[in-house]
């Protein structure tokens, strides 16, 4: 059935090809190819190219509230850039972003992978528990933030009273000590990110042929050896996807931090994301906001290139 549908137009083209000259036919084919690509190109230019270029241009402009009225945004060279880079807050925020991103990724991925492997085993209530673990994913980020802020409250939070009943002291300043707040925010983000990691990795595990595991057990391989030599290598493409997507969503995080700590106490949880927000929407200095935004884009772009490289070598 499928062969006939494919060959029929080809045959017809061969017949008509005799009448029109081959150059025109080729041109028409090229044109129709571009016709298919065009919508994607237009979409990309409109929704990715334009804002991106705009953001870069904006970072060299004095873009203030009055710009919205008179449309005037005079170029001010590298003023915005030097202003942002001179501010200690930028250095702090960059450092916090790095710690936050790496910490979150390690935690989310580690726990997610462990759970995914755990759920490949058959046991009662497997499906039920798996869907229960999905819950954090369904809760909007801001809601999670608000709920966790209550849980982590130093005096009235559930976590500390629980620790208290266990006799563990229970006065941990989760969100109120500048030295601890970033760590707590990372913990909450790990909690939020686990389901995503687990689901994708679990899906990847299902794709690995069962026969390989049977062969391994016949060869007498240990569980660790099986995991290292079969599971990990075959899961590698999925792992790359999970890590890259996780990276992209973690580095730009904003809503969670705003809901948990508002960047405080004493700027100890300011990240590049909250700094962009603060510059653009609190101080209404859109030029400075654009600078921080550009730095974020640049970091993401570097990782996107790594990702594409990794995928290409995978294809070979």
């Amino acid at each position: 059935m499928s062969t006939t549908t494919v060959t029929a137009p080809a045959a017809r083209r061969a017949v008509s090809g005799k009448k029109t000259d081959p150059l025109r036919a080729r041109r028409r084919r090229r044109l129709s190819q571009w016709g298919f690509i065009a919508p994607a190109v237009v979409f990309m230019l409109l929704f990715f190219g334009y804002p991106l270029v705009r953001n870069v241009v904006m970072s060299f402009q004095h873009y203030s509230p009055s710009t919205f009225f008179d449309g005037k945004a005079p170029f001010n060279g590298t003023d915005n850039w030097s202003k942002v880079f001179k501010d200690d807050l930028f250095g702090k925020a960059l450092w916090h972003t790095i710690v936050f991103t790496i910490g979150s990724l390690i935690g989310q991925f580690g726990v997610g992978l462990a759970l995914a492997v755990f759920f490949t085993k058959r046991f009662p209530l497997n499906g039920f528990l798996r869907s229960l673990i999905l819950l954090p994913w369904l809760v909007p980020m801001v809601v999670s933030g608000i709920v966790w802020r209550r849980i982590l409250d130093q005096d009235t939070g559930v976590l500390n009273s629980f620790a208290d009943t266990l006799g563990l002291g229970g006065h941990t300043p989760w969100l109120t000590s500048p030295g601890m707040a970033l760590f707590s925010v990372i913990l909450v983000n790990i909690w939020i990110g686990i389901p995503f990691n687990m689901v994708i990795l679990y899906g990847g595990l299902q794709e690995i042929p069962k026969e390989l595991y049977e062969a391994a057990s016949l060869d007498g391989a240990s569980a660790w050896r099986t995991f290292r030599s079969i599971t990990l290598p075959l899961l590698k493409p999925v792992i790359t996807v999970v890590l890259v997507l996780g990276f992209m969503s973690t580095i730009k995080i904003l809503d969670l931090i705003l809901a948990l700590t508002d960047g405080g106490p004493a700027d100890s949880t300011q990240t590049l994301g909250t700094l962009t927000y603060q510059n653009s929407f609190v101080q209404l200095d859109f030029g400075a906001g654009a600078v921080v935004g550009n730095v974020l884009i640049l970091i993401s772009a570097v990782f996107a290139v790594f990702y594409l490289r990794a995928n290409r070598s995978e294809g070979k």
Partner: protein, 400 residues
């Protein structure tokens, strides 16, 4: 009645037919932050009455408070500004400075019977841009039962408050609660301490400001103030007070609606204590003001002025104040309201001496506020007050 409405509708329609090209000639919009159900309802009722009185239809568009400014800016660039914008008074200077607002006096709105402080509150660089319906400020709320049981008087000075708070701190109950969160809430709460101590937002690196901050640090050191205070908003403070975790709190009248839902809670209010007996208790003047954005359409702006006039009329001020527990801006209205709710007298007194945050620094307030937040959070979590404030002053002046 009906024919009159029809006639006025026709007249208004005829008058506007020539100019409103993109806008619906007979529909006026008011942008505000009344996303909360009850506030949205009260405003809808007010606008309903004003629509009827002016013979036009007025629509309410509500966005979260943090988005009023950005939404208005976007609307300005797309030339689709609403007819009236309700700004938080601390945001108005920014919009006014960008050339976005019309002088209300030039549109025939009078400031008669409005106290000077409240006219200043709605003014920027001497021009009156915003009419307030009601204003608010902070006060000391206390749990009467707890104070009575301990046999303690309501504190009026810093020393008294410190002592009372210490005595009331026992078990899970803290003596006092306040917000020192990293947002405008915390700064708002710090201003009465800063100002009553002679400190000023034009220079944060002074002994007076440091003294106020050291007073907060002292409360924290005594254990009278929870360490979580740096993570609390004003709403969180109210929750703690309602849950009985705090005997006193610094808060505003917008919490009264929630406070009154708990029937067995007997709260009362007093003026915020001052450094020494006899000092003036200066609180921050808060609240929203009605402004008319500059659309270039004079006829519409004139009608918008009538809408503002109606919304801020004595009658509407009292009705809004009754609902929201805030103090009417107009002197006569305030006098009537005072008789109705004597329990909020201390608040009305505090409003009379309250100060606007933007009178001195204008559009620079956000920079000062961000620097100050960072400073008091650093100080409350261990840093030296003077060092933290010195850094904050440098940051505020560099505009970062």
């Amino acid at each position: 009645m009906a024919p009159l409405t029809v006639v006025s509708v026709l007249v208004a329609g005829a008058a506007l037919a020539g100019c409103g090209q993109q806008r619906d000639a007979n529909v006026y919009t008011v942008l505000n932050s009344s996303t909360d159900d009850s506030y949205h309802g009260w405003d809808a009722a007010t606008l309903g009455r004003c629509s009827k009185q002016l013979g036009i239809s007025i629509e309410q568009q509500s966005v979260p408070a943090a988005q009023v400014m950005t939404k208005s800016l976007r609307m300005a660039s797309s030339k689709s500004l609403p007819d009236v914008i309700q700004f938080d008074a601390s945001e108005m200077p920014t919009f006014a400075e960008a050339g976005g607002l019309v002088d209300l006096r030039s549109l025939g709105l009078s400031t008669r019977d409005i106290p000077k402080g409240i006219v200043d509150f709605g003014s920027y660089k001497g021009t009156y841009y915003g009419a307030a319906r009601t204003v608010n400020t902070l006060a000391l709320f206390y749990n009467k039962d707890i104070l009575d049981k301990a046999g303690l008087q309501v504190p009026t000075t810093w020393a008294e408050m410190k002592e009372t708070a210490k005595k009331l701190t026992r078990g899970k109950q803290y003596g006092i609660a306040l917000s020192a969160g990293g947002a405008e809430d915390g700064v708002f709460q710090f201003t009465p301490f800063m100002w009553s101590n002679g400190g000023d937002e034009t220079d944060l690196a002074t002994k007076n400001v440091a003294g106020a901050l050291d007073y907060w640090k002292g409360l924290l050191k005594d254990g009278s103030l929870s360490k979580s205070t740096v993570n609390w908003t004003q709403a969180d403070v109210n929750d703690q007070f309602m849950a009985g975790n705090a005997a006193m709190m610094i808060n505003g009248p917008w919490q009264v609606e929630t406070l009154n839902t708990k029937k067995n809670l007997h709260w009362q209010i007093a003026r915020i204590p001052v450094p020494k007996a006899g000092d003036a208790s200066v609180g921050p003047l808060g609240g929203a003001i009605l402004t008319i954005p500059n659309t270039g359409d004079t006829a519409r702006e004139k009608t918008a002025a009538k809408i503002v006039q109606c919304m801020s009329s004595e009658k509407e001020q009292i009705s809004y104040a009754r609902n929201s527990w805030m103090v009417p801006a107009n002197e006569k209205a305030a006098a009537i309201w005072r008789k109705e709710v004597p329990e909020l007298d201390a608040l009305a007194d505090q409003v009379a001496t309250a100060r606007s945050r933007t009178t001195k620094v204008g559009a620079r307030w956000t920079s000062v506020s961000l620097a100050l937040q960072s400073a008091f959070q650093s100080a409350l979590t261990g840093q030296n007050s003077e060092a933290a404030l010195k850094k904050a002053q440098a940051r505020a002046t560099s505009g970062n």
